[in-house]
Symmetry: C2
Subunit: 147 residues, 2 copies
């Protein structure tokens, strides 16, 4: 029935608009700002992986963050402008850049992680871990359907 599908669509609407994830991103960025960090949520998602392992290529970062190459290229450029990381031409493959954090890039890690955790606890207040994981599983299926 048409009516059913439409109402189904309405229920699905918040997935579609992504209002939850934008709300989270906005809060994260606000928390960064309030703690004196001048980085965006997107920049954080790149730094997050570099704190784990330096020397990643832009391609690696693209795969990890599910972004396309131009997006990563520009994110890296902005982070380089802010002197949080540097591009180093790979000796093995002259096409590729290896990305290394600067001292400043390392320095802000703890502060950033604190704010990320603060954001998460703000977001998940009143949500028990079990239901959150269940929701996550659904999102995972949806993501795999579309990627």
């Amino acid at each position: 029935m048409m009516t059913n599908e439409i109402s189904y669509a309405s229920e699905f609407y918040s997935f579609l608009t992504g209002r939850v994830s934008t709300a989270i991103g906005r809060r994260l960025q606000r928390n960064f700002k309030e703690s004196g960090l001048h980085i965006t949520a997107e920049q954080w998602s790149v730094l997050y992986y570099l704190w784990e392992s330096e020397g990643l290529s832009q391609q690696d970062i693209a795969k990890l963050t599910f972004r396309d190459k131009p997006s990563v290229s520009r994110l890296i450029s902005n982070l380089e402008k802010q002197k949080l990381l540097v591009r180093v031409c790979s000796s093995g493959d002259k096409r590729a850049n290896q990305i290394y954090l600067t001292a400043q890039g390392h320095k802000i890690k703890d502060k950033c992680m604190q704010q990320a955790e603060k954001t998460i606890s703000e977001a998940l207040s009143g949500v028990d871990r079990g239901s959150m994981q269940q929701a996550q599983q659904i999102l995972e299926i949806v993501f795999n359907n579309l990627k």
Copy 2:
């Protein structure tokens, strides 16, 4: 424990990055394009409400779509350029615009809704309605925590 919080953070990561919602938006836009519709997912979310009730103000649309006023202003401008709607200065309140669809704006409704439903069924393949609604409830709580 720090380790726990970090792993909790990792689990929450896909919420934070919004990769699911961007994947959905990307697929929606692709489906629009393949069916010959030249509108973005964001434009769709505005049209969606106008098909329901015309004459909304930009403020109304901002509240319905959870966007700020500048975003709505520019979305409306782009839709006006595409001749899908028009701004009409409200007679009651000269500050406000009332938004009305053009003939073309009405015409594309069915095609758009078809593609939206197609996108939803692609996204939700293998997800039963109950778990989807449960996930939705969690997202709703998270959203209310942050808005």
